[in-house]
Symmetry: C2
Subunit: 316 residues, 2 copies
């Protein structure tokens, strides 16, 4: 594995051709935006390049690759963007997992599986790294590339809201906006639009909200019946888990989702409480602020098990 910087990566890209760019599975704005911005830059240089992903790209990102005429060619060089672990290639892992010539990523947890690695863990999004790479190849960022990179950055930073946002992220955002990105339309699509089914699911889970330990813990649940009633799909169920911990005074937010003979438990905590410690009691794990586990039993027995564990953690 060779560690690359922006200049070395630009040189390598300029001196080779026929690139296949891989996104990670369950693709998000950063992997998609970064991949297509790079693809457009390589095509602008007269190179052959294409993007693939093991999963369908959600239709809300379609503007990123409209009007893009991909050349027909046989790939010689494999690039993975925003892919920290070859497992994240999904179905593409078997064919390409061991053959990645260049990985461009911002995850500190990157497994260094590629022949060459351009890694910047301080970047809020892989899109920031691509933003520096494109001019280093002598290509000027056009409006479509700018839209793709802006999407990459806003989706990974919650529109400049999360702690990973740096002054450099803000400056790059300013530059991309100056290049004519319709930031209002992109932000509306990414952050302000919810499906009818999503609204119905939010209403349904909020109606189950319960508070424990004097309001320091908030719990809500989602049953198969609720999912059927609201006609929600998996996409509609994304991002529910952080909801309870956003309530004033809540230190631990818990979301239960009905599974096979039990409930999948998502624990989210505010600073000061270790979510992983809670989930380890039930054979699960994860990060300090976000962890998960599975508990067998009925809704009421699972809630009781959790209530006891949470009361211990909160010392009540």
């Amino acid at each position: 594995m060779k560690n690359m910087n922006t200049e070395l990566t630009a040189e390598w890209l300029l001196s080779n051709d026929d690139y296949l760019i891989l996104c990670h599975r369950y693709p998000d704005g950063d992997t998609i935006g970064s991949a297509f911005a790079l693809c457009r830059a390589l095509i602008a240089l007269g190179k052959n390049a294409a993007v693939i992903c093991s999963d369908l790209i959600p239709s809300k990102y379609a503007y990123i690759y409209d009007n893009l005429n991909l050349p027909v060619f046989k790939e010689k060089n494999i690039i993975a963007v925003d892919v920290a672990d070859p497992k994240l290639l999904g179905m593409l892992e078997e064919e390409y997992g061991g053959k990645v010539d260049l990985c461009i990523d911002h995850h500190g947890s990157n497994l260094k599986y590629a022949k060459r690695l351009l890694l910047d863990p301080k970047a809020a999004a892989t899109g920031e790294i691509i933003y520096r790479l494109i001019p280093a190849m002598g290509v000027s960022i056009d409006k479509k590339m700018a839209e793709a990179l802006f999407t990459a950055i806003v989706t990974d930073t919650g529109c400049f809201r999360y702690g990973n946002t740096t002054p450099e992220t803000m400056r790059i955002g300013a530059e991309l906006m100056s290049m004519g990105v319709d930031h209002e339309a992109i932000n509306r699509e990414m952050f302000d639009t919810k499906s009818r089914e999503r609204m119905a699911v939010e209403q349904a889970v909020l109606s189950t909200l319960d508070y424990w330990c004097g309001g320091k813990c908030a719990v809500m649940y989602l049953t198969d019946e609720m999912i059927q009633k609201t006609n929600a799909n998996e996409g509609d169920l994304e991002g529910l888990a952080p909801m309870p911990k956003r309530i004033e005074g809540v230190k631990i937010g818990i979301t239960l989702r009905q599974g096979d003979e039990g409930y999948k438990v998502s624990v989210r905590t505010n600073p000061g409480i270790d979510a992983c410690q809670i989930c380890k009691k039930f054979g699960g794990g994860g990060h300090t602020a976000a962890s998960g586990c599975f508990i067998k039993g009925t809704l009421s027995s699972v809630k009781e098990d959790l209530h006891i564990a949470i009361s211990e953690v909160l010392g009540e």
Copy 2:
């Protein structure tokens, strides 16, 4: 009325003293952050300055004025910040409405009621104008001023998400972050924290969601009984109106709130539909994307009146 620029305003502030800075009623992050940043800068210059507002400043903004020792003095010069209309001074209008020596504002609709006006309608927040004004007075922006200005800007732009955000807004955000602002903590407080009562109100209004005209219009309502049941206060009810228009496919979002012998109607529209035109039919008005009116009657008669008007606008 004299139109001022940044330099003239700085000169005037440097050559006078004993400033009373007024916020608008129902104070938000921009009026509070701008007022206290300016107040701290004037105090740093050895001047007397204080801030007042007709309404209580919500406790979530308390960090903006903690550790601020206000001098005791008799005011000689009145400054209004982010106050487009003297009526917005609330109870302070009677005493100060006609005596404002300097108004600093970013609303294009400013009524030009003050003796001196520093107006920049291109600024996303009054905080942007104050950001330029403080160094023009020879004061360097300290961490507390930076936090106040950052709060002003993020609250008026939805954390750099709305259309009013410009590349300049982003660059100012970058500079303020470089000055040591804990942007993650401020953003969590401003955007990610909701009261228990607010969660209950959201659940309650979402449970009333109804769709008209093939899903192009979404309607929800809030009755006195719902407010009582959820124990919500006025603060908990803020910002509900944009919820229905965020639903996929919805062009017109309507929120009804029970009032005296009728309902207060808030209309929010996505690009292409004029909310003001709809509200004018009922004697109301406002802006293209956000307007309001009052319709007398019962919930069902008000809904029927609106349904007819909306169907006409949507040509259905």
